[in-house]
Symmetry: C2
Subunit: 350 residues, 2 copies
DNA sequence: CTGAAAGCGCTTACAG
DNA sequence: CTGAAAGCGCTTACAG
């Protein structure tokens, strides 16, 4: 490996001078700068970042802790983090907790994972990362989980604390817009299949749904609200119940794509055509929604943006710049496909 | 931050001694070892790995370059890498090339990405990684792409060169076993929907299919072999052609799950029941195959193992240990679900 | 069994 | 505009 010392010797200058031209600091005459650059080029010299880090006390690396990289949302968020980190000259030290593999969706058992979190944090700290990003797989409050003197931003989950930030998407607004989208197409009987009721997203999405209904002067019918558990099967079961109603809904909004898939399956079995007889809207825009038949219209999550925003905030925090909001919510965007049709003359599903 | 020097002072020993107890080296009396450990515990001291790396010339970090983290195979491979790296006390520096986003499946355009590869490699090198793992998104030969004095292993792609290794799954064996699985259930008219014909996997899988047919004394019927392009739509089109044949196949093996999904859709349209009238087997076991109706029987890829094996080999290479094979192929495992049925009395699909 | 010293490859005041 | 020197936090022969 060629060192700064070698370059200095060949260029007949001191190591300090070489360091300065590399970092564009100090006043260096154009002549020596060129001379040094030429040698660097010739020897294909690359500064040793480990040594640099030791001296500057900055590693330009972000520790990323992801609860489970195999969950659908994680890769796209990491994608965004990587993009933005690149642009900021930062690298990513990745740790995967495998939470989903360990406890599935039973977050009451999350305590079991806390030791892994601690280990990951310690390891990252001993590697002197400048800050951390924690990627959840379910939006919940993680305040107190991580306690370190460096900035950390939580995404797809949240936490409040000194030098801690959260970036998420706006669940309520998303559900509001999805519902409004249906209303604008003439639907008045809109059913909702919720996720597990104790979760923040379920709660916020219900609020958005309810607000859209009321703001448009529609009656709220509790019979149209069903609670599932985020899985395909529960969408199927709830849809069956909904389709058995005397006064059937003309549209169903499911709180995730999996349950929407279950709705589609129930319709197929009952001879209900989607979207002619019933419109269906999902949530998440995961890959699978594209392959459902019909292709599912669904609320897309700003995953890439979640990642990008997280590093933007983190970098500001690292630089010690002021950060306006401790918690930011990004907007979702509806992906229109083939599972929604305007209701005509009240004709849908009679 | 507390340093080794602080511990030494408090324990009334030299920094060298502290270093030795931390690293379990040299001969330290039980008494001083305990004394030092106690202080370390009390101050919650964490060694600075940056300093350590500078001195030892080992960072215990693996540079991972992934062509595209949003492609289905990548997260699970990274999952495996992370697991095994953890076990070896290594960390992962992750770089995402976003190749799929940039060029899709048109690998003739890969030249455009080479600059990103170079940048990633340089960055990783300047961060002094001990070795690298390159995760492809399509099995092809990448010899010459990376040229560095450190070991690198290629997975889901391959390359040969000094200190370079490849780990993949065995395409031919997988196709052989999938075909044999069908034959063992009485199928004799087995169609194959291939991926793009210029790809290594297509070629190897065809070979496996052909070998199974012949080894079981069945006639090879070229009419049963169709070429798709890996996409859903092509599976649909090819299945339609196959179903229009006078002498229809009783089973279709598709070279990936997407095309198998297309087959399922074609069957639905034509009133062909799966698996009663036609058995279908996919390839990849991506998440989506679980949600197809019927749930797809498919050849599962050993993605996690690909990742694990990659770091095992890399670690050996880093340690300078001998590595038996430059290229290793792992076995795939069939995931049995609901799209295959034994053929009875030649009754299938008449 | 333990300590003093040198050094890993950089950067950064400081002096000139 | 440039160089000599100190030091970041460790580890590792070497001496005792």
């Amino acid at each position: 490996m060629v060192r700064i010392k070698d370059i200095a010797k060949l260029a007949n200058v001191s190591p300090a001078t070489v360091s300065m031209v590399i970092n564009n600091r100090g006043n260096i005459s154009e002549a020596t700068r060129k001379k040094v650059l030429k040698i660097i080029e010739e020897l294909n010299y690359q500064p040793n970042n480990v040594a640099r880090s030791l001296k500057t006390n900055r590693t330009r690396t972000i520790g990323v802790i992801v609860e489970d990289i195999t969950v659908f949302s994680s890769p796209e968020i990491i994608h965004g983090i990587n993009e933005s980190a690149d642009e900021h000259g930062m690298s990513i030290l990745l740790t995967n907790l495998r939470v989903h593999r360990l406890i599935g969706n039973n977050f009451e058992n999350f305590d079991r994972c806390k030791q892994s979190v601690m280990n990951a944090v310690e390891e990252l700290l001993s590697r002197q990362v400048d800050g951390m990003i924690y990627i959840g797989i379910h939006n919940r409050d993680l305040t107190g989980l991580i306690n370190i003197p460096k900035p950390v931003v939580f995404t797809y989950c949240s936490a409040s604390g000194e030098n801690q930030y959260s970036v998420n998407y706006d669940d309520e607004l998303a559900a509001f817009e999805a519902t409004e989208y249906l209303i604008q197409r003439g639907h008045e009987k809109i059913a909702l299949i919720s996720g597990l009721i104790d979760s923040i997203p379920s709660h916020d999405r219900f609020t958005g749904y309810y607000r859209a209904i009321r703001e448009h002067g529609l009656p709220f019918n509790p019979v149209y609200v069903k609670t599932g558990d985020w899985e395909f099967e529960s969408g199927y079961v709830m849809a069956k119940e909904l389709l058995a109603l005397a006064d059937k809904p003309t549209a169903i909004l499911a709180m995730n794509d999996l349950m929407a898939g279950g709705v589609l399956e129930a319709c197929r079995e009952c001879g209900v055509r989607v979207p002619e007889d019933l419109s269906v809207v999902g949530f998440d825009n995961r890959e699978i929604s594209f392959y459902f038949i019909p292709k599912l219209t669904t609320m897309g999550l700003p995953l890439n943006e979640l990642g990008r925003k997280s590093v933007e905030i983190l970098v500001r925090a690292i630089e010690g710049e002021p950060i306006p909001e401790k918690s930011v919510k990004l907007k979702c965007n509806l992906v229109e496909r083939q599972s929604v049709m305007p209701v005509r003359d009240g004709l849908a599903i009679q």
